[in-house]
Subunit: 314 residues, 2 copies
């Protein structure tokens, strides 16, 4: 029995790596730059080299490592084939096969958002639950669906792409995906700013949001300070997200929604706005759900990658 | 190795049973009445007795039967515990344990809609696909989600309860579930009639729908005959269902939607109305999906129950 596993999270700027005990403890974490030249062809060799160097430093034999889990920014099928990763310059290839050339231990690959969801289940805000929906409210809105302890990859690796659920028929602005009225347009950090700007433009209500930089943090700071207009923005955000989560619940009926990403730094106050809307829109049998904050932050990916490898799931 | 499996589908009026080869061929099908007296306590003994009698008639030894799969009309957890089945008078109990008292072979139980979805995957319209969403357009709208060949049961057995996805904010009438604007209110057989009635009341456009009995069949018969008002109703139905399926696709990204239930008897014409709306609302990575008609009709339950038992899945 191996005592260790490696988790890798490939981002557009840096690759995060973590050495884990098989019980799920992060023993050390480090980063290397993501070299995107030559269509990202150096990324996997760099990862392998960095892992071997770290194992040497830590005096750990390769045979004592169960394998490497790796999260990549693009759609990945159940066998670990990535179809493309625009941010890295990658086209279609099998990630475990490719990394396996440089590192002779088992490799499992999955989409980074799904891997992060798995991490939150394994050691984060969703610990103890096997049916979980992770929602990442960042610049965009991403997600990861876990059913019976397994990642829902989907036919084209698009399982959990919840940011593009159609939620508003009346939208006139176009989402990054080309459609109009996606969940992401109202509940991402950018979406919340958009809701705030619209509301500020609509009337002259005094609000601290009229001063200083307007971002999602400013909105929820103002909510906590009792700013009436900010509370209206939060209610609108909560209405959209609560309704979106109710739709998701009718499909997979999770035990818990784990909310992460930059917006989640606002904390439990989010749930005061999400939960009432969720309960209004959710089917009765799905109403009994927990809301939890993600706890692993930017480390969710390395945790999830290591956990995925150790779970025996692809 | 056993050569046979039994599939059972418990309905409010009759229990359907089927004897299957392990390859999935229905060797014989029969029915018994559902006796609902005494809180439905006779249903499972009746099922066991009927199975034993049939095996005797067919000269099949119990040892040559892999087991019994059973679909029940209520939420069922992964271990086969049903929480309630209002139509049968049942409260909470473990179905495999209860049936096992009368029949000493393996038993697996699941929700009837989920079991029917499994049947369509195993031997019906979804054959060859492991990621499938079955949509039943009947008096209500039900569904079953299959991910990687496994039923998505959900935390409270409410996985696939897609009839209650919130789809219309402006609805004033209440759905059977107590909410307003559920998918079921526009896309069930009853929902289609409601859409037609509203449209007929709104103007004086001549339409064959103004004569005779108005039901979902009449609407789609009129569509096939080129009735303009009926086509508007079909377009409205397609818009709601296509949008609902696009929401579902953002969650589980299926390979195929299998459309069944009474409304599906209208045939392929349905897809002419569902697909354009689906493509408008679906996230790009999910757009490449098949639409198929369910092919097992009322037998989907017995097929799915037998298939579930044989699959080794709970």
């Amino acid at each position: 029995m191996a005592n260790y596993a490696i988790g890798v999270d490939i981002g557009g700027t840096t690759v995060k790596l973590g050495l884990f005990s098989t019980e799920g403890k992060a023993l050390c974490k480090w980063e290397i730059p993501t070299v995107k030249e030559d269509k990202g062809s150096r990324i996997l060799p760099d990862v392998a080299e960095s892992i071997l160097k770290k194992l040497e430093e830590e005096k750990i034999a390769l045979g004592d490592v169960a394998g490497v889990g790796i999260g990549v920014p693009g759609p990945v099928d159940a066998k670990g084939t990535i179809f493309n990763a625009v941010n890295l310059g990658w086209g279609e290839f099998n990630v475990p096969d490719a990394l396996g050339k440089y590192l002779n231990i088992p490799v499992k690959a999955a989409n980074d958002a799904n891997v992060a969801a798995f991490g939150e289940m394994w050691q984060g805000g969703g610990r103890g639950h096997a049916n979980l929906v992770a929602v990442t409210l960042g610049t965009g809105v991403g997600g990861g669906i876990i059913v019976d302890g397994r990642i829902v990859t989907g036919a084209n690796g698009a399982g959990g792409e919840i940011g593009h659920i159609p939620i508003e028929d009346e939208e006139t602005e176009v989402c990054g995906c080309g459609k109009k009225g996606c969940l992401e347009q109202y509940t991402s950090a950018t979406g919340i700013v958009r809701l705030a700007r619209r509301r500020l433009a609509k009337n002259q209500t005094p609000s601290t949001l009229r001063e200083g930089e307007l971002d999602a943090k400013a909105v929820f700071d103002a909510v906590k300070a009792g700013d009436a207009l900010a509370c209206q923005v939060a209610a609108e955000f909560g209405e959209y997200l609560g309704k979106g989560l109710a739709m998701i619940a009718s499909v997979v009926n999770p035990e818990v929604f784990v909310i992460g990403g930059g917006v989640s730094k606002a904390g439990e106050v989010l749930f005061e706005y999400i939960r009432p809307a969720y309960e209004k829109y959710a089917f009765s049998a799905c109403r009994n759900v927990e809301f939890a904050l993600a706890t692993l932050g930017n480390d969710a990916g390395i945790y999830g990658a290591a956990g995925l490898l150790l779970s025996g799931e692809a």
